[in-house]
Each structure stands twice: as structure tokens, then as C-alpha cells.
Amino acid sequence: MPAKEVISPPSRAPPLETGVRMRLKVPLAMAGLALVAAACGSPATTEEGPQTIRLLTHDSFAVSEGTLEAFEASTGNTVEIIRAGDAGTMLNQAILTKDNPIADVIFGIDNTFLGRALDENIFQPYTAEGADTLADDLQADETVTPVDFGDVCLNYDKAALGALGLSPPESLSDLTSPAYAGLLVVEDPGTSSPGLAFLLATIDEFGEAGWEQYWADLKANDVLISTDWEAAYYGEFSGGAGQGDRPIVVSYASSPPAEVIFGDPRPLVAPTAVVEAGCFRQIEYAGIVTGTTIPYAAGQLIDFMVGIEFQEDIPLNMFVFPANTNASLPQEFVDFTTIPAAPATMTAAAIDQGRDRWIRAWTEVMTG
């Protein structure tokens, strides 16, 4: 799409100057447009006038007041948010209604579920304006646009490890050594999304041949399994807001800054920290629903979601990191956490093929 060099991402440009109309000004873009139209199997998308865009999203979706209103003011569209439960529930709901969609845009399907979503063709091809500002390693497929990412990482309670005279673990293997016996709490990958992410990190690290043995060793080292993140973090973890007695937990890279921002009283430094090894990167995508009657307006919303204004609003609302490389981070996200340099990643297809089998095998190892 050569047109991209010409168009800077205009998050608040007047409606006539955005999207397809703008591209038409560039002759070369004509070819690209024709390709997109052919891929859609529908006539060229043109402006439909002000529309109500139905945005299906999960329970954790949050934006600051005024952010979506800015989009509505600049485009004349209205955004109607529809809530769907957690990401897996939402994906199922989208699949069940794909013949007669309940939404025009879906946000919040992550890379652990993306393969299934692509198999079911619930999204139609779309390249967001400003897609070139999004980190390359987050891109997955021509139908979906990465909006944010969050690294699932081990967090530790600084004070508690210090009191034990232990240094924080430096690798996943450290956790199986006797020194760390009885210190770790993880989430069940069968019920929890960070739990699944951590399982994938161990599979990435130890390979198909070794990961089951690693978990058997963790089990021998008295790992504790919680149902979900809330139960693990608040119920079993000792650091920060946690009320439990385990100093190491599977949580997010954004948890230490959250402990500062929501600390009461607000601490000067985070009481918890992130282990950089053994992280898994969850990436959340947005896509235009196949069969929507308003693809143009739906595209405008996706363009907006990867634009600077929305992207810079993400960290403090959803506690994940913006996909847009130009977006600047809140100071707490700079001071109190690190973005792991080499988190585990897997293709959506690989995750989709393995997920069910891995979870069953894991359950076998941990209950056996």
C-alpha cells in the first residue's frame, strides 16, 4: 500500500479527509483498493454516512471518558459497546452468530484464540490506516489489526524474597530448584488466560519433549494452582495487594506499575517486580466482522483504535501496552516495569493446534 507514506495517521481529521477517499487521491492506491475490494468479494467500500458501529468486546475493555466521544465527534458515527464475558466466551458468541452478526467490529480476541477465529472466517480483510506504526512482531493476519499487547510474566514479592534471603529467579528452571520450593502460585490454563499463556511459555522454553517433565518437577516442588488470576493474585500471592503467602505469582508485566498507581498509600517504588525470563506475549486484535453492512465506518473505528489518542489511553485503562510504536507510555510504566526483550511467542495456528491437547496433557501431569 504505497498510499501510506502520504497519509499520516490523522486521528481527528474531518471525515472527508480520512480513509478510502483520501487514498483515491493517490493514483497508485487505485490498484491497492481494487485488490482490497476483490479480497472482500464486495463492491468497493465507500462512505456510508454517519453510522452506529456495534463494537463487541470483553468485560475488561475500558477507555477514558471522552476518548470514544472524540471519535464520534470527528466522524459523526456512534459507537455502541456490546459486552460479551471473557475472550473465549466472546469468540464463541461471534462464531455462533457469524451468519447474522451482532457486531460490526470485534476487539479483544488474543493470539491464544486467534487461530480459531481465523479458521471460522469471522473477520474480513482490512488494513488499518496507520498500520505501519504498529510493531511488526505483533502483526498476524491480513484480517486483524493488533491493538495492544501484554506480557504474562512471573512477578515476585521483593520484601518476602529478601526476607528469605533469596534472589529472584532468573529462569524458569530456577523454579524447580529446592530453594524455591513452595513459593510459586500459577493459574490453571484450563480456566485462566494468563495460566494458558504461562503454559505456552514453558512449552516454548522446554519444547514438546521437555515441558511435561518441567511441570512434573514444578509439581514436585510444591507449585500451587489457582483457578484464575484474581484468586492467585489476591488470594495466594503475598506481594502488593495480595493476602496470601506465596511470594512468586504468574501475573502481568504491568502489575508492578499498577501496584504503584493504585497503591494505598501510593508507594515510592513498586513492592513487586517482574522476572524477565519466561514471559509470554499476549496480543489483542481488532477486526471487521464478516458480513457487516458498514465496512467503511467499521474501518474508521479500527483506524481510530490504533491512532495515537486511543493508543495512549490504553495503558492506564486496560493495563496493557499500546501496539503503536509512536505512543508514549505513562511514567509509571517506564519506571516500574520492563518490557521483556524476548518473550515467548507462537503463531496463532500453532497455538490453535496444540491448545486443547496441551491443556489435557497438563491436567494429566498435575492431577496424576
Binding site: 468485560d59 464475558g85 464463541n92 447474522n100 491443556i359
Partner: protein
Amino acid sequence: MDRSHDRVMKAQRSTQRWLFALPIAFLTTFFVYPIVRIMAVSFSGDAGIVDSFSTVIRTASLRGTTWFTLWQALASTVLTLIFAFPAAALVGRYQFRGRRLFMASLTVPFVMPTVVVGAAFLALLGPDGPLGVDLRRSVTAILIAHVFFNYAVVVRTVGGNWANLDRTTEEAARVLGAGQWQAFRRITLPQLMPSIRAAASIVFLFTFTSFGVVLLLGGFGINTIEVVIFREATVNLDLAVAGALALIQMVGVAGAVYAYGRSGRQATERSVSASGVVLRPIRGFPARFLQLAALGISALLLAVPLGGLVVRSLTVGGGLGSANFSSLFSPDRTAVVTAPWQAIFNSIQIALGATVISVVIGTLLALAIAQRPTRLSSTMDALVMLPLGTSAVTVGFGFLVAFDWPIDLRTSPILVPIAHALIAVPFVVRTTLPVLRAVRARLREAATVLGASPRRVLALIDLPIVSRAALVGAGFAFAISMGEFGATAFLVRPDRPTLTTAIFRLLSKPGDATFGQAIAMSVILMVVTASLVAAIDRFRVGNLGEF
């Protein structure tokens, strides 16, 4: 004489049909139809119904899960009956100061989000808790939590029925020399049996499909069928296996309901006082002992964990203070939550909707069932319990595939109160039916002999009695909706924050302040619910006195 008898029978039949029309339409549209549709979709994929069932049967762990689901539900039911009976006797027989407040506050556990209760229980059941034993991640913890959640079902159902008993037989027995215990065992207990069985059946179904409590308190490896359905549907994305499990669960529930129905055939003529409630003041040793026992158990079971939450909500950075509440209401509250007023308003609106729907449908059903024992009425009597034993995923996804035609209701806000009402209707039916059945047949016969048409009998005798009983069910319906039991999580719904979704949002962010605010929000939920249930309890129909 024969001809007039025929005429009465005919009129009765038509009255019954007329009463059944709306409830049957409601249950068919919002329960049977969506379930049939989602089952059809689930089994239409590559893995058909046979494959899915064989997968389920081959999976070894499932036998264990089924067995566990069954026995923990039975154990929870028996334990709840035992622990709640003293309090039921207390509110059923005696007037004491704070009785109404006591009855209302019992419903609070019903609305508490499982995560919040889980946190309270984990603090109490941990090694540093007052019990001094580590009961975390144990079946014992699940059973204790089930008694906690269902305590009110037994106290309000049995106690409510007790207060309405006709005391003349018991008093006659006492006059004739029967001891207090003998009079209770021979006269009162048989009179109470229908309501005891009603309460037991509800507790059984609730715990049979227990989800959050099992996930949170049971620890890894302890599952109910409901938990496995959830995993298959939302994590493994295998709707066929989830559907097979949901069918197995429904068959189990239907079997239990059928057995319950059969065991109830004999119990028919019970007496109820049509003149209102006579409660005695507490005097004498047995009464005082009962009061002590009932309040003691209630305090241990309910007040301690809930009180712990109140204390936690007022704890700020190690000391006491109201910062958790004030920060919720301050305009610069942490980004994640809408104004509490908005959430309170939305929750109450939905809950009132659910209450109205379930009281109308439930009362009509109870009246129809009580008209005459027919095959239809005994079928409906059992069928109405099924929603309690149906997995929330099935209902939620069923709505989604069923309601796109003729009007697209799939994202409509009315599905939320309707889903809540499906779960609340059985409560209304179960609390009103024992009372209605107990209306002395004589009373009706007398009215009929005196020339009243079945419709007049309905209006003059059944309706006043049923409206008192329906209030107990209404309180439950309101509380159920405020606490948003399972089903809502699987509905797509417009973005209208309620108290429970606000609590969920707060809990999903780390940090002392958000945790404190989540607990504060739960305390608000507690207070709002208890006051409104108390208000519903207070509501008088005509001058029929209190229930």
C-alpha cells in the same frame, strides 16, 4: 347435582388452562426453545451427538466429576437443612425485635459475588484464621460455602411457611396433653414437610450446578459438571462436548426433580391460617434456647465472614477510614469504574424487572398447578425447576442463537432480567405452592358449594393467600438478580455497568486501593440488597398482615 358438578369441573379446567397460558408461553420461548436451538447447533458440527457422548464417556475423569457433583450436592443440602432449621423455627414461631431485619439480611449471601465471598472465606479458613486449621482448597470449604449461600433458602422458605401454619390442631393436641416435642413431631413437622422438601430441592439444584464456589474454594482438580461444561465451551471451544455434558446434567436434574415430584404425591392436605400470622413473644427456656442457637449459628456462619468484609472495606493503609468509599464516589476515582450511583441504579432497575417477571409468571404457575392435579400440572410442577439445574453457558448461548428472528433480541437489554427471572421463577413457585396446596380443601369446597365460580374462588381465596407467599419469592428474585447469577456472563449485553460488573472491573486490577474499593462496592451491594429485600418483605397486600 351431577350436571352442576360437571359444570364446575369444566369451569375449573378452563380456569386452569387460562392460568397456564402465559407461563407456558414464557418458559417455551425463553427456556425450551433456546436450549433446543443451541443443542441443534452444538451437535451439527463434525463431531455429532454420538461422537461427543462417546468422548465424554471415554474420559475417565468424568465419572469422578459426576459422582462428586452428586454427593457434594446431597451433603450440602442435608447440612444446610440441619444448620438452618433453628433459625427457621425461630422466625416461624416467634416475634422478636429485629425479626424483619434478620430475615432480610439473610438474603445478603445470595448477592455477594463469589470472588468476594471467596476472599472472605479464604481469610477465615486459612491457617491464621480463627478456626486455626487450614481448610483452604478442600471439599469442606466448598460445603461450608454452600451452607453460607443457601442458608436463607431454608430459613425463608420453611420459616415463612411455618409462620402461616394453622395452629389450632397443634394447640388442640397440647390441650389434650401432648408434650411440646410430641406436638411438633406429630403435628407441625408433617405440616412443614412440603416447604422443607421445596427448600431442599432448590438447595440441591443450586449446589448440583455450583460453579464459582467450586472453582474458587475447591482448589485444583475438584470439578462439578458445570465447571467442566464451562471449560469445554469457553477454553477448549468444544461446543459438542459441552452440549453432551449439558444434556447429561439436565437428565440428572430432571431425574432428581421427577423423584422429588413422586415423593410429594402423598403430601396434600395441609392447613394454613387464612387469617394472618400469629407469632408469640419469646418466653421460657426452650424459646430462649432456640433463639440463642439460631442467632449463634447465623452469626458464625453469616455475620463473621460478612463482618470481615465490612471491616476490610473500612481498612485503609493499616488503619480505619472511609477512603475506600469516598474514593469510589469522588469524581477523580480510578479510571476503571463508572459512578456507583449509575451502577446502583442499573442494578436495581434490572432486579425490579426480573422480580416483576418472575412474580407474575411464578404466581400464575403456582395458581394453575394448585387448581387440580392433572398430568399437565404435575409436569409443569417439575419442569419449572429445570432452569435452576441448567448450565448458564447453555442458556446464554441458547439466547444468542435463538432470538435473531422475528425481532433481533440478541443484544437487547431485556434478555438480562429475563435470564434472571428464569432462575427466580422456581423460587416463587416453590415458596407459594406449599401454601396454596395447604389452603384447606374445605375452604374451597365450601366456597364452591355456596355457589362461587372457580374464578371467584381464585380471586377470593387463592389470590390473597398466594400474594403473601409470593412476597417471599419476590425477595429472592430481587436478590438473585442483584447478585447476577452465572447466566449473565454468557449473554451479550449492552454496556450498562451494574454493581457486580463494577466489582469485577475493580478486582481485575492489582493494587491495594482497587481491592479496597472492590470490597467497598460489595458492601454497597450488600446494603442496597438487604434494604430493598426488607422493603419488599414489608410490602403489605391489603390488610393481610405480615409474612
